[in-house]
Amino acid sequence: MSLHLDNINTLIELIDSGNKLALAPDYSGCAMKAVRYLINHKVRDLHLVGVPSIGFQGDMLIGSGCVSTVETAAVTIGEYGLAPRFTDAIKKGAVNIIDGTCPAIHAGLQAAEKGIPYMPVRGIIGSDLLKKREDWIIGNNPFDKEDSPLVMVKAIAPDVTLIHAPLADREGNVWIGVRREMMVMAHASKTTLVTYENLYEGNLLNDTNMAPGTISSLYISALALAKNGAWPVGLFGTYPADDTHLRLYIEMARTEDGFQNYLSQYVLDKEIKE
């Protein structure tokens, strides 16, 4: 059975309202085209997990009312300033924020990947982050009888991971190169949905150069081809971000009305008709 779907819309139908959805940061693999479909699809109450942070896709989903909870080490759009819709939603109390720190999010996913309930993580003790987290507990290093406190982070098992990758083959193997946090995301998630830029002729796992950077189809639930699928953010090793468009987004998303204008010009029902 082929994992390949004819179009992104069918792929996106595999995401339900209320899902815990893991997403990659802007410098990794962002399925922005699929996110626009998702906004069109009017999913609600998503629990986003930024691995370990999220950028434009998080801001757009939050602004579109698709999100009830954001679990992340940061919502960042880097050099462009503060994420406008996220910042506004926090001010209004429109989303529940679960503030974390990068290595704790990675560790939570690694615990899920290994099928264990938690993972110890260095640091964190004395941070106010800890006060707000029921899923982080201070334990003691069991190999040290002395007082040796250590934070235990509960496993994070997302319902869905949604990413964009440079290459995938007909078998459904997905090449992510050194961006291996996406491999951990796929291993930890119940469902992994992938859009990809180009079809790789042959089997990625049979190519010794490509195989180490490839997520095996074992972990992939479905894929769809999406040319320029990360636009307007960039895709590592493939194309840079569209700086002009991102600036336009920041400008328009400054206000609620402006953001709605952005949606009607660039998101709502545009690509569905392609």
Partner: protein
């Protein structure tokens, strides 16, 4: 000879001097000035210093995704790193989360990133914040993303080393748990720093001026460093280094 330089170039040169003799410096998200400083220090080290810059494809030798920086730090394989903060207080606590009551912050920042971990593990953490005002350098942060000091029983090989701002350099004294003014940038005065700093700090009797970058350093910054940093921070490179 009187060399003209921009405020950013002075800071880049000052931070680069703090990295002299180190083996591995890592650069986190949204850090164009620390990134430039690390690249300058690498150029001056004649290849001895390794720089791992998040978000870069050219200047990043990690092959294990987002986790490798953190694994490396916990093993003691990274000597220096940079953190900032919407607020920084006199105990070197940093706040990357927001101002006011949490979680409905009056002003919300992006988030804590890896600070709550890396601050504990990397020996030389340089705090950098260009804006030096009482709203940034506060008596007590509203939210501790990462604490400046920890109790004895907490595993903590790392911590604050210095705080570099647009006006001066502070060095953190771990025994006292407070900052000490080290130097004033050219054109800035102690009265001004006193007025613009919300926390109390130690000061020596004679306060030196932050050394100005040499002509050779400026040439390196505007040439090699500007070119290398533009891959990750094009907007910054355009703003600061374009003529």
């Amino acid at each position: 000879m009187n060399i003209q330089f921009k405020p950013e170039e002075l800071i880049i040169s000052t931070i680069a001097d703090m990295l002299e003799g180190l083996s591995h410096v890592a650069i986190g998200a949204s850090s164009p000035i620390p990134g430039s400083a690390a690249l300058l220090a690498r150029a001056k080290s004649k290849g001895k210093l390794r720089v791992s810059m998040l978000g870069s494809e050219e200047h990043n030798a990690f092959t294990n995704g987002g986790t490798e920086l953190f694994d490396c730090a916990a093993q003691g394989r990274i000597d220096a790193f940079f953190l900032g903060g919407g607020q920084i207080d006199g105990r070197a606590n940093i706040n990357l989360v927001g101002i006011g009551e949490y979680p409905r912050s009056k002003a919300r920042f992006p988030g804590s990133f890896g600070s709550a971990y890396l601050y504990f593990l990397i020996p030389r953490i340089i705090l950098f914040r260009e804006e030096h005002t009482p709203r940034v350098l506060v008596p007590k942060v509203d939210f501790i993303s990462a604490p400046g000091i920890s109790a004895e029983n907490i595993y903590r090989p790392g911590g604050p080393y210095a705080l570099v701002t647009g006006r001066c350099v502070f060095i953190f004294n771990k025994k006292l748990g407070s900052f000490c003014l080290k130097s004033l940038h050219p054109g800035h005065t102690i009265e001004e720093v006193d007025e613009m700093t919300g926390f109390t700090y130690e000061k020596p009797i004679n306060i030196p001026q932050t050394p100005k970058p040499s002509a050779a350093t400026i040439e390196l910054i505007r040439g090699l460093v500007a070119d290398e940093v533009s891959e990750t921070y094009p907007a910054f490179a355009e703003r600061v280094f374009a003529n």
